[in-house]
């Protein structure tokens, strides 16, 4: 059995947490060339330490990675906050409300019960046996809590913390006559404490007195960026050994992490965030207009987009720009039915019911833009919206801002969809755009959205609307297209798409929008991304090993603790 090697941990237990120790066999991709170390353009940006609330996905991943995939947080969790286009940035801005903490508390108690309340499961996670199951055993409780706490806090517990949580377990065990009940309380309390729920940067000093991120904070930055979860035992070992304070040590760990199967988990999280796939959490469609849409379709549509991206960018180490043109995708029976594609026999399905599918070369289906995961999310419940779709292309995939519509303007030049005079969305928008104050913004959004009009509100292909032929032609920044497939080609050629990925990925990695001082680094990273053939792994490595990513300076007033919050 593998062993967690963090100091003080015993040899037993936490089998699921150890899965990450087994370095994956090299994946079957080719062509990724290793970049050298960070470039001369690396900026030392000296950003103050940050505190990021665990996102919902991170919480789920952490629980799964530490306790095993069978242990699931129950109930609803406080929603993530999306700011500046990313949940990752919102996590750096928000806190935990009273009702949110109730939810974390309920989830934590449920997890503790699942982990420690069942004898068979307990046997897998306990590193020791209590002297009695009906009395306190501080030694055994401490051994468990030291181990669990290290994984949950992403650093060893301080002696004071360990003593406090052990006391919680002992006191509860004594009061209730239940050792494991006491341990459950200590574990669930750990899981609503600040060092678990917030990823907090801690600062120490180099030998020359200069501040730096402490090694465990570096480990967390790396693991949440690349895996969207906690560091594994090897990364914690490297942190403990001080290896993450050297460029070589960081590069070695990053290279290992980029080869791990957990990279898929990490990049699924990034693209979920970048493409706002959380919209599917609450997406509804009118059942009479779109009877084929269902909860299952919504769930699987998100999965289709993520599988498409992970296959192209991670498994095949492909060119990022191909996400706009790829004919290859992955479907299951639910989605095949939704797209109107013949459902394959069981033999063609993988163990989870999915199969690889390639749209014909002359099909208008083209990359992620024509998937349900995009066109359905950016539509109204009962109809399409070229404007919402075009806006999403500009904002999510090109990182361009579209101003809000003006106040005090009458928009009713558009007629309703049943008006016989305006049969297609283009007709209605043409009427709308006769208002000069509207036309400016619609011109930069609508053409892409109109190209996607060949796909209805749930991505079913169509050629007519209300009996009129749909005109899908347009142009994107000077490049003309006739349909959605050619729009995909235009997006592929548009430099803004690659620049956007670099900026979003960097913002995601740090949970903040980059400042002007980081532009040289981003310019350099973009250039190298292009030279490297738009490979995601190379870009990840460039960011994760950069000085920009790991630098820190103390907050100006870090020695001052603000006055205690009002107590209500």
């Amino acid at each position: 059995m593998n062993t967690v090697t963090v100091k003080g941990m015993s040899k037993r237990g936490f089998v699921f947490a150890l899965a990450g120790l087994a370095v994956a066999a090299l994946l079957g991709y080719g062509g990724w060339r290793m970049w050298g170390g960070p470039s001369a353009e690396d900026a030392v940006v000296n950003i103050p330490p940050a505190a990021r609330r665990l996102t919902k996905l991170q919480y789920t991943n952490v629980v799964s990675d530490i306790f095993g995939p069978d242990v699931r947080p129950g109930g609803r969790m406080e929603p993530d906050l999306r700011q500046e286009h990313l949940i990752a940035i919102g996590a750096s801005k928000t806190s935990i409300t009273a009702s949110g903490l109730e939810q974390y508390d309920a989830a934590a108690r449920g997890i503790a019960q699942q982990v420690l309340g069942q004898e068979d499961y307990r046997a897998q996670v306990m590193p020791c046996e209590p002297k009695s199951e009906t009395a306190a055993d501080p030694d055994c409780a401490s051994t468990f809590l030291s181990r669990a706490g290290t994984l949950l806090y992403r650093r060893p517990l301080t002696s004071q913390e360990l003593e406090q949580f052990t006391q919680i377990a002992s006191k509860a065990a004594t009061e209730t006559g239940d050792f494991y009940g006491g341990l459950q309380l200590a574990l669930s309390t750990l899981m609503i404490s600040g060092p678990f729920l917030f990823i907090v940067d801690n600062v120490d000093q180099q030998s020359d007195g200069e501040p730096r991120l402490d090694s465990y904070s570096i480990a967390s930055r790396l693991s949440f960026f690349l895996w969207n979860s906690v560091p594994d035992a090897e990364l914690l070992r490297a942190a403990e050994a001080g290896e993450l304070h050297t460029q070589k040590g960081v590069e070695g760990q990053v290279d290992r992490m980029l080869e791990s199967p957990k990279l898929r988990q990490g990049m699924r999280a990034f693209f979920s965030d970048m493409l706002e796939l959380d919209l599917f959490d609450t997406l509804t469609k009118d059942a009479a207009i779109y009877p084929a849409f269902s909860f299952d379709v919504a769930r699987d549509a998100r999965e289709q987009t993520l599988r498409t991206l992970v296959n192209l960018l991670i498994d095949r180490d492909g060119d990022y720009r191909d996400i706009f043109t790829a004919k290859e995708t992955f479907l299951n029976r639910v989605l095949a039915s939704a797209y109107g594609i013949p459902v394959p026999t069981d033999a063609l399905l993988d163990g989870n019911g999915w199969f690889r599918y390639e749209f014909p070369s002359d099909s208008e289906h083209s990359g992620i833009l024509t998937q349900i995961g995009f066109v359905s999310a950016h539509s109204h419940p009962g109809r399409t919206s070229p404007t919402l779709r075009g806006k999403a292309v500009r904002e999510l995939l090109m990182c361009q801002s579209v101003p809000d519509p003006p106040a005090g303007v009458d928009f009713t030049l558009i007629q309703d969809t049943k008006n016989p005079e305006f049969k297609t969305a283009r007709d209605r928008l043409d009427a709308h755009n006769s208002v000069p104050s509207c036309a400016g913004c619609h011109k930069i959004m609508d053409p892409m959205g109109l190209a996607l009009e060949a796909f209805d509100g749930v991505a079913r292909h169509r050629t007519t609307e209300n009996g009129a032929v749909i005109d899908t032609s347009g142009e994107l920044d000077g490049v003309a297209f006739k349909n959605a497939a050619e729009l995909g080609q235009a997006m592929r050629q548009n430099a803004a798409a690659a620049t956007c990925l670099v900026n979003r990925l960097y913002s995601y990695s740090l949970g903040r929008t980059p400042g002007p001082q980081e532009r040289p680094f981003l310019t350099d990273a973009k250039q190298r991304f292009v030279e490297d053939g738009y490979r995601l792994r190379g870009l990840l490595r460039a960011i994760a090993t950069s000085k920009a990513f790991l630098s820190v300076k103390p907050a100006p007033n870090s020695d001052t603790i603000v006055a205690n919050a009002d107590i209500h």
Partner: protein, 451 residues
């Protein structure tokens, strides 16, 4: 004295009790708390606690179709306010109020929703800090001793549809499920204030005690952080203390609340997003839950979202939402307004009446629960068709135990909507002389309704 000390005292007391065998605390006979009419008096003989709630909808009302034509008492109710006719004498209508954007980039609907709740038009949505909203300002004042400082609910099915701000970028989320809200209120942690016996739960006591390990990490947690991050973590620690408070309440014998009864258990409530019937069903269920929660002393503050700011309400089988109709439907030449879009407004105001009826259905001392409550009902703008910031519909319903006069129409032509928020805060006892920012700042409460 800080709550920390108070909780410590309470904890020591309970720990002392728990050292021995399980205890049963006998309560005075319930009839002692009923007056001659069978309605409730507080256990102490003092007035029952005042309550405050917000009820929000998006896309306003049509100018000219809701404002009373007469001023003051006995105002006329017509057209779009007709569903509220039964509440006229316990409701105030404020016409002519508006928001000032002061040249800031104004997100139609979104900025208005924030501003009517916080008194501040944010410089940008998504990148600005928000000021605390009215419900939180009041909850921090009056909700301290309750099991829940406040309850946030949305009938839309989306927990992010919530216009309740704690300050900075900390936004409360709303409970979208009446089933979950029922469990939260009346499930395992509920202590019936009228139960004859009371027995503190050892496990609750232990959970309460354990939380000190969390609050004691404050110093080390914040060691290297800047001021804004420290404030965020302090907000989290305030939530930890609220959880402590919630558990402490469960450990104490509650004061009897004679009007408290358990609502019917909600086991199934299917949400279909903003489909109108689904929203109306949720509104009715949340109304019942809120009413029973207030009557049982579980909270004094609630925040209800009926539609999101952009009102994505939709009628089953129709391709256009309420919001889309406000921008796309032609104005009916005969009627003078958009017929389909206005139909939704009728449904909205009828649903407000449904909510109020639930509060009004609980009889208490010489009145109903609605009488000791003050409901702030508002939209985010005026005429939705033009994203107008003028003539925003705002009503208050209930008198907060006589703290405001009711039954009045008060024209406030051209004033900022913040005047209502300032008036409410002062009525609820907050020591505040002005409210709002920039051109929305006001120091003029609406004296016509002040007692």
């Amino acid at each position: 004295m800080s709550v920390t000390n108070r909780l410590a005292t309470r904890r020591r007391f309970l720990q002392g009790m728990l050292q021995g065998t399980a205890i049963t605390v006998g309560l005075p006979f319930l009839e002692c708390f009923l007056n001659g009419n069978g309605t409730a008096l507080a256990a102490t003989g003092k007035e029952l606690p005042v309550c405050f709630g917000t009820w929000f909808w998006g896309c306003g009302l049509n100018p000219g179709r809701w404002e009373p034509k007469t001023v003051g008492a006995n105002y006329d109710i017509h057209d779009e306010l007709e569903p509220l006719a039964a509440f006229r004498d316990r409701m105030n209508v404020f016409s002519g109020l508006r928001l000032f954007a002061d040249g800031k980039p104004f997100n139609p609907h979104g900025s208005g929703a924030i501003a009517v709740m916080t008194g501040d038009v944010p410089s940008a949505i998504g990148t600005s800090n928000y000021l605390p909203s009215l419900d939180n300002l009041i909850a921090d004042r009056v909700g301290a001793g309750r099991r829940f400082r406040s309850l946030e609910m949305t009938a839309t099915g989306d927990p992010k549809d919530c216009y309740s701000y704690r300050g900075g970028r900390v936004v409360n989320s709303a409970e979208p499920s009446p089933v979950a809200m029922y469990e939260r209120l009346f499930g395992a942690g509920f202590v019936d204030p009228n139960a004859a016996d009371f027995k503190p739960d050892t496990k609750v006591m232990l959970r309460h005690s354990a939380l000190s390990a969390v609050t004691e990490q404050r110093q080390s947690l914040m060691r290297d952080l800047g001021a804004s991050d420290k404030r965020r973590l302090d907000e989290y620690l305030t939530s930890v203390r609220q959880l402590e408070q919630q558990l402490a309440v469960q450990l104490e014998k509650p004061a009897p609340m004679a009007a408290c009864t358990m609502p019917p258990k909600i086991t199934n409530a299917k949400s279909d997003g903003l489909e109108l019937e689904s929203v109306k069903t949720n509104n009715q269920l949340f109304a019942k839950l809120a009413a029973h929660a207030l009557a049982c002393g579980q909270t004094q503050v609630f925040n209800v979202v009926f539609t999101n700011a952009i009102s994505g309400l939709r009628k089953a089988g129709e391709p256009s939402t309420h919001h889309l109709l406000t921008h796309e439907e032609s104005v009916d030449e005969k009627l003078g307004y958009q017929k389909k879009a206005t139909w939704f407004l009728g449904e909205v105001i009828s649903s407000l009446a449904v909510f109020l009826k639930e509060l009004d259905s609980i009889r208490e001392v010489d009145g109903t629960l609605l009488d000791r409550t003050l409901v702030y009902a508002s939209s985010e703008g005026g005429l939705a068709r033009t994203h107008s910031l003028e003539n925003i519909p705002v009503f208050t319903i209930g008198s907060a135990n006589g703290r405001v006069k009711t039954g009045l129409h008060v024209p406030c032509s051209g004033d900022s909507i913040t005047r209502v928020g300032l008036t409410i805060q002062q009525a609820m006892g907050l020591p505040v002389a002005k409210w709002g920012t920039d051109s929305n700042e006001t120091s003029r409460p609406i004296r016509e309704i002040m007692v």
